[in-house]
């Protein structure tokens, strides 16, 4: 294949914005976007709430500075303050740009973009399109990429970076339709493959494919991962699937009830009750379950989200989607029965370590979106900041790669390397003797992570988690691909995704064990307070000679001094 100037891996919001911006920066470049699903299916479409930008439409006195402060405070002071500056300063421009190219937004009386209040924000600055903001943003970007003639390789599964010393020669990917491994020699590669929260499997709100593929590929190529221990949990996921029941349910007056029929939030947040901040509510539910006041079922322990007292009319009128979800995925009608819920892994703050331009330490390799860690979210992401992150830093990465592609030689990928890759895939289809089921391993990984590296962590638990992960990695070697066909082998794809999750899980657990403090989403029972002296820094995890090696990186300050985070 003819060498590309830029190969973008991922067709979510970050990848598509990068493609658009790269084409704009230099229209003569040869750019390709690879995606394992059609771009419009990417998980960006799941974001309902909206994207933050200090437009000042709803609250005239909102400012970029206030947005910066809220973000830094929300991050529990772990975000890099210069990066947050970029994020918030670019926000109004990027939202207007999206508006200009066709994103439908809900509107205010004066016909400007509507904004609503969102957790952790001092002003209502979350721009939205009904309850489908991510979906409409993704549609717009996809439409514009089609308009500009971006070259898409849809349903291509990225396998590995081809590395030559300190720089990349391009990428190897499997064409799902043919099963062929194809080489994508390229001057630059941008990873925009989304998050890794699906490693919590049935305890995650994410799409099945949010398996951290880009991160795992970069990790195996020796690029450091940053702050991997920070995984955000949402308090109310459905018991069986982990799918999200939005805050709306509690906002309308839903109760959280334990096995003894108590509204237990009275113990944890007397005033706000069910409407306390996400992490507090998540921890409270988890405590109830750990202390034996949860319900039990074959699908795991849970508590009740009770809406029955709200009445059929209100539920039908204001919470139709929640009712539908509950019916579809739990077989429970919330008008008649409470919904079984428990906290669910929702967002990954950690990711590929990049600078403010999307560069990684490897020449010619960039990353943006949820798969990258710049870091603008630090220890805890604010709602509405992640759509913003993928747009702003997707664009920046696209621009940087377009500007820098000229610096690099076009890479070449040898036949031998291609063949190795093919052989590697083939070998999984023919192991003999005892074999393991990938489905079982996937579920076990999710369980051990949720139990030992979940909301509450403690040295002994996390160590158990690390053991489990390494056992699972061993058993993985015996996983067998039963589908022997080349055409659309989803069996093989899921096995490769499992491998990515297993590789990354070790970085999440290692970070969780190392960080002996509690900050943002990371709660250590044995170290219950934030320890700025020792831990006001980023953790890094790099794979060297097949072994994980820990590092660290200072936090860039400059705007706000450390303060206690209270709401």
């Amino acid at each position: 294949m003819k060498p590309f100037d830029i190969v973008i891996v991922g067709g979510g919001g970050a990848g598509l914005y990068a493609a658009m911006e790269a084409m704009k920066t230099n229209p003569s470049l040869n750019i390709a976007v690879l995606s394992k699903v059609y771009p419009n299916r990417s998980h960006t479409s799941a974001a309902q709430g909206g994207a933050n930008a200090a437009l000042g439409n709803t609250a005239k006195d909102d400012t970029i500075e206030m947005h910066i402060f809220d973000t830094i405070k929300g991050s529990d002071y772990l975000a890099d303050q210069d990066a947050v500056d970029v994020l918030c300063s670019e926000a109004p421009k990027i939202i207007r740009e999206l508006e200009n190219i066709g994103t439908p937004w809900s509107r205010l009386e004066d016909n400007t973009i509507a904004q609503r209040p969102f957790g952790g924000a001092g002003r209502p600055r979350c721009c939205y399109c009904a309850d489908k903001t991510g979906h409409t943003i993704l549609q717009t970007l996809y439409e514009q990429c089609l308009r500009k003639g971006v070259i898409f390789f849809n349903e291509y599964f990225a396998l590995k970076l081809s590395v030559n010393g300190s720089r990349s020669r391009g990428l190897l990917a499997m064409n799902m339709k043919t099963g062929k491994v194809e080489a994508f020699p390229a001057k630059t590669v941008i990873f925009a493959t989304g998050g890794y929260a699906k490693m919590y499997w049935n305890r995650s709100s994410n799409a099945a494919g949010n398996t951290g593929d880009g991160q795992a590929i970069a990790y195996r190529a020796g690029i450091p991962m940053k702050d991997m221990e920070f995984v955000q949990f949402h308090p109310t996921g459905l018991r069986k699937s982990g799918l999200l029941v939005t805050e709306g349910a509690r906002g309308e007056g839903g109760f959280l009830i334990n096995k003894d029929g108590e509204r237990f939030m009275a113990r944890y947040a007397k005033e706000k009750m069910e409407l306390g901040p996400r992490d507090l509510v998540s921890r409270s539910i988890e405590t109830e379950i750990l202390e034996g006041r949860g319900f039990d079922s074959p699908a795991g322990k849970y508590i009740h989200l009770d809406l029955t007292h709200l009445g059929a009319d209100l539920i039908k009128a204001r919470l139709p989607q929640i009712r539908e979800m509950s019916l579809n995925f739990e077989g429970v009608d919330p008008i008649e029965e409470p919904i079984p819920v428990r906290p669910t892994a929702h967002y990954s703050m950690g990711g590929i370590d990049t600078d403010n331009f999307g560069r990684t330490i490897m020449e010619g390799v960039y990353a943006a979106g949820e798969c990258a860690c710049v870091s603008v979210h630090g220890a805890n992401r604010l709602g509405g900041n992640s759509l913003l992150d993928i747009l702003v830093f997707g664009r920046i990465a696209g621009r940087t790669a377009a500007e820098e592609a000229g610096k690099f030689e076009p890479g070449t990928i040898s036949e031998a390397e291609l063949k190795d890759s093919v052989d590697d895939l083939r070998s999984r289809m023919q192991p003999s003797g005892h074999y393991e089921r990938y489905g079982a391993l996937r579920e076990e990984l999710g369980q051990t992570l949720a139990l030992n590296v979940g909301i509450f962590r403690e040295a002994s638990l996390v160590k158990k988690g690390i053991n489990d992960i390494s056992e699972l990695q061993d058993r993985f070697k015996k996983v067998r691909v039963f589908d022997s066909s080349d055409v659309f082998n989803t069996n093989l794809m899921q096995v490769l995704e499992l491998q990515n999750m297993l590789d990354l899980a070790e970085t999440v657990a290692a970070g969780a064990l190392a960080r002996e403090e509690s900050r943002g989403s990371h709660t250590r029972i044995d170290f219950p307070v934030r320890d700025d002296e020792k831990w006001h820094k980023h953790t890094l995890a790099t794979r060297i000679n097949g072994k994980i090696s820990a590092g660290e990186k200072p936090v860039t300050m400059g705007r706000y001094e450390l303060q206690e985070r209270t709401y």
Binding site: H43, G102, A130, A208, N328, F329, R437, G439
Partner: protein
């Protein structure tokens, strides 16, 4: 059936999934495989397929991603109807089985088969490109990102529902005309075209419209309503199709396009003579059914608009008459309802 009730109370029932299989590498033609599993209350068709893939047959291939009815990956036909597997309840489907206890699962129609339940979505993407399904902004380049267009909430509501579309292709699979003519624009693409055409920020309304009125475009729609009835997001697709047609007649005149012309001639024919004169219709080129399906709806709509009650049709061809009558009745009903709906608003 008492045993079903017992099982119901237990919360588990034995269900057979009869799944369409086809692997182009080895199969000369498709076949069905039966998988029987015990399904609990609340389980979806997708979860059942996942279970089968993990525990029974790993080679069973289908697409799925969000598992929450958001991404549009898992469109397939369940008991003959195109829908999302991830939002379809197994126990609901059990009530719709043709053979008791057997849920039939097949790929979407009208898109090329790849393997088992997976079809090729590229033709749909190509059509989105062909009909410029994007906004070509009227904001000058130098101003982009600097200011907002002012758009009323009222305008937003004109395309709000249309932007719910997740491109799952259920409507595509159900569309009657697409099954006969693969080049037909497709309901989802008509919907998207409509959404672009009513957006005040867009600058290529006329270009898009001129493409939509050509062959295989908006005039080919037969008004059968199947797309709307099967839309997984309950989007009123037909309103969009009508709107494009009305827009076309308004902007380009009734004589402009072959579709509009035929519709007019057809209507006159019925009105004047009270019957169909086959010779005046383009049956030779397109065939009876095609012609009726294509032209009847528009003609009906014009008649209703002029408040002329449609006379009973007489068709000589004995072969086509049953089909024609059935269609005529169905469409008269649809057009009427549709007309009422648009008046209520």
């Amino acid at each position: 059936m008492p045993e079903t009730i017992d099982q119901y109370q237990e919360g588990k029932r034995d269900v057979t999934f009869r799944v369409f299989r086809f692997n182009p590498q080895v199969d000369s033609k498709p076949y069905f495989d039966d998988y029987t599993i015990s399904a609990e209350r609340g389980i979806t068709v997708l979860r059942s397929l996942n279970y089968i893939k993990e525990h029974v047959d790993a080679s069973l291939s289908f697409r799925a991603f969000c598992q929450a009815g958001i991404c549009g990956s898992c469109g397939m036909r369940v008991n003959g109807i195109s829908k999302l597997a991830c939002t379809s309840q197994v126990w609901d489907e059990l009530d719709k089985c043709r053979e008791p206890g057997i849920i039939k699962v097949e790929p979407l129609r009208s898109l090329p088969m790849i393997k088992d339940l997976i079809v090729d979505m590229d033709p749909l993407v190509d059509k989105m490109k062909h009909y410029s399904n994007w906004i070509e902004t009227t904001m000058p380049l130098a101003e982009i990102g600097k200011k907002e267009f002012l758009v009323s909430e009222k305008e937003f509501h004109r395309y709000d529902k249309a932007t719910d579309c997740i491109l799952c292709a259920s409507c595509v699979s159900e569309c009657s005309i697409l099954r006969a003519n693969k080049e037909y624009v497709s309901p989802a693409v008509l919907l998207k075209s409509y959404r672009m055409n009513v957006d005040s920020r867009d600058g290529i309304h006329d270009v898009r419209l001129s493409e939509l009125v050509k062959d295989h475009g908006v005039w080919d729609c037969t008004h059968c309503y199947r797309c709307q009835e099967s839309c997984v997001k309950s989007i009123p697709i037909m309103e969009a199709i009508h709107a494009i047609r009305e827009d076309a007649i308004e902007c380009r005149g009734p004589k402009d396009t072959s579709g509009a012309k035929h519709a007019e001639a057809f209507m006159e024919d019925i009105e004047k003579k009270g019957k169909l004169v086959e010779a005046t219709l383009p049956i030779r080129t397109n065939g009876m059914v095609w012609t009726l399906r294509n032209l009847l709806p528009m003609a009906m709509k014009m008649i209703v608009k002029r408040r002329t009650p449609p006379p009973p049709p007489l068709v000589k061809s004995a072969k086509g008459i049953k089909v024609f009558r059935a269609m005529f009745r169905e469409m008269t009903e649809h057009v009427k309802q549709d007309h009422l709906k648009s008046h209520k608003k």
